[in-house]
Amino acid sequence: MKCREFVEFLMEYLDGALVEQERSVFEGHIEDCPACVNYLATYRETVRLGNSVCTPDAEVPADVPEELVQAILSARRQR
């Protein structure tokens, strides 16, 4: 297996969607390839970062702008 194929099958590996034989080839490659170890770790980190930067805690605007509230309520009354 080459790094290119490793990357191709990476998501299926993480989703547990590879069959036993494919998984063992995949895992065999990781043992020999530090670049792919780093790739795997940073791919996972990318997913985690995407997720964590958008949690409600990380988001500043808990308030809704007053003019938007008024626009919504006024549009509702006009229906």
Binding site: M11, A35, T46, I72
Partner: protein, 203 residues
């Protein structure tokens, strides 16, 4: 991801008042969930006016269909789906700008199948609050620089927490296409983040 909801009894009470058509309850719904819905809309629609339009469309649609809301889901989850849908509808009405092809953003390989630029470990732990804030802005900016078709899949799956089938239905593409685009979007995002996050080489 679901929006943080008021307590279940509070939500049930609000729902009851909405179903009774109580004017004050509509306002309460908008004030309680508006800010969080706006944050969701802004992820899909970087232009503030578009994001606000999507939130307005979402609430009007929620008011119209509140009697169809079934108590087995949370009100917040239901509203989240509605604003995601409203944001995607809004996107479809926008003129598409020419954008970079996803291929150019994927990792490059040598002829023998090895990486052109091998990946390095990242430093994302032990950041101080200012660095964390910077990282958050970097991630959002990088997500927004992805081509739209790939960006939307990444937003729906990895950020808004929809499953493959839900994302496929909303985007009107096949579940297989969702999977392919998600994997490519993640790879492209990883490439964008790499130069900023790689550990400094030992001096």
């Amino acid at each position: 991801m679901t929006l943080e909801a008021p307590s279940a009894p509070g939500e049930a009470k609000l729902l009851e008042r909405l179903l009774a058509g109580e004017e004050q309850a509509y306002e309460e719904l908008v004030r309680t969930y508006g800010g969080r819905l706006l944050a969701v809309a802004r992820r899909f629609l970087p232009v503030e006016e578009d994001a606000r339009d999507a939130v307005q469309d979402a609430f009007l649609s929620a008011f119209r269909s509140i009697h169809r809301f079934e108590g087995n889901a949370q009100l917040s989850t239901w509203l989240h789906r509605i604003v995601v849908n409203a944001s995607l509808m809004k996107l479809r009405t926008r003129r598409r700008h020419p954008e970079q092809s996803i291929e150019e953003l994927l990792p490059g390989y040598l002829e023998d199948g090895h990486f052109e630029r091998p990946a390095s470990p990242w430093r994302t732990d032990g950041l101080d609050p200012a660095e964390q804030d910077e990282l958050r802005k970097l991630v959002l900016k990088s997500i927004h620089s992805l081509p739209e078709g790939h960006r939307n899949v990444l937003l729906l799956r990895d950020i808004e927490g929809l499953d493959t089938e839900e994302a496929a239905e909303l985007l009107q593409i096949s579940p297989g296409a969702v999977k392919t685009r998600l994997h490519r979007a993640r790879q492209a995002l990883r490439e964008q983040l790499e130069p900023h996050l790689r550990e400094a080489p030992p001096s």
